[in-house]
Symmetry: C2
Subunit: 240 residues, 2 copies
Amino acid sequence: MQQYNARGVHGQTVEVLAQRILDGRMPEGSTLDLTALQSEFDVSLTVLREALRVLAAKGMVDARPKRGTFVRPRANWSLLDADVLRWQFARSPHRPGLFDDLHELRAIVEPGAASLAAARATDTDIEALDAALADMAAAGDDPSAAVAADLAFHRALLAATHNELIQRMEVVIETGLAERDRMVHGTAGADDPVPSHKAVVDAIRRHNPAQAARAMGKLLDQAIEDVARLERTQHEDRQD
Amino acid sequence: MQQYNARGVHGQTVEVLAQRILDGRMPEGSTLDLTALQSEFDVSLTVLREALRVLAAKGMVDARPKRGTFVRPRANWSLLDADVLRWQFARSPHRPGLFDDLHELRAIVEPGAASLAAARATDTDIEALDAALADMAAAGDDPSAAVAADLAFHRALLAATHNELIQRMEVVIETGLAERDRMVHGTAGADDPVPSHKAVVDAIRRHNPAQAARAMGKLLDQAIEDVARLERTQHEDRQD
DNA sequence: CTGTCAACATATCTTCGTAATTAATGAAGA
DNA sequence: TCTTCATTAATTACGAAGATATGTTGACAG
């Protein structure tokens, strides 16, 4: 999933800086003291520069002679970027509501994608969906296999739209799935996911866009309900 | 709109390299000859490195010792990134269907966003929408003012969802609007945009999500119809 | 004879310290 | 008050040295 596989000490530097900006420890508009950061991370200026260049590419910082390197307004950050999403969830206390935002976007995009897929899916596309469905059924109680199959399903669905931009919304879906997986981690009691997913595939197979969108909407409603129920349970646990 | 405001010779280097990759002149998996590029652009290795670091941050290239720097599979490119979208449209013969893909994504996201906005919009949000509507009416036949008002409208709509991730879909909408603007450039005969936009605002003011979504859908249908009609006209012109 | 594993050599990226360039600032002049 | 110009703080660029993953060779076991 991650895109920016920086090797060497670089990756850490980028991630630490990114998280400081994302969680507000380095507020918008604040200027970065390169010399201080250099000694803090014990790296050369070049390393720091390249780390900042990555963040600049994601709209998070800007550097100008005489003014210094500063954090850009939040409105310019590429929040839909795979790395930025991952960095936000990597630190434990991420922004409240971030998961909800993520899910709302999914709730808009995925039914629409299902509708398009129903109109355009080829036999190959439907085979991929069926395969993901089979994997999901075969996964049983193996959590990692279940997540992998779930991911494959949603990826196959996006691919069936034959729209390259919609396909790239997978970064949002992947992050959403990964985060949900982290939350439910090992907690049993989730419903069987196969029926709801199968309903989507059936609608696509019949090339019925409206039905596909509805089925996908239900699937997502169920998913968010699972998480909500889980959060209630955890909340009760915390009151021991 | 652009995020990566690289200064110096850097910006050109990044853009040229990006376009070569995006249009397929540097195919997926091909390795880049850094030495050749260095002499071609007449820049130092550091400059080239930082340019490639930007592309790496956008998932387009990767560098590994002993293997070299190579173009990553297209599936990893951040096609929803503002710069990547801009670079694609910057060169005249961009991928056929790119505009269509863009519009399909808008057709999915914006009605959903309008629906959410209808549920959540505050008085301030609605004032912003009204202001954009007023600007649109006042623009009259000034194309740049009309585009600015249109952009402000769609931005205000996304803001009214109070969902930060959905708001960042503005990069897609902005690019779509900018490209449409480039296409219609100076050609009159477009319908009055105010009524269709006003219908959306009215639905939001009444906090009627379904109606807002429908109105937004119609607005987008009309927009794509305008472009289609324009393309037919241009096609006829070309047959002189 | 064939397949597996480990140590080695090297091509390539990565990092360093220093020099050049840029643009915001304030003062001087018109 | 506006324009011009030197000042200077900060980024940007350079060429060489350093670090590292990869591919290769050889030996050993099956």
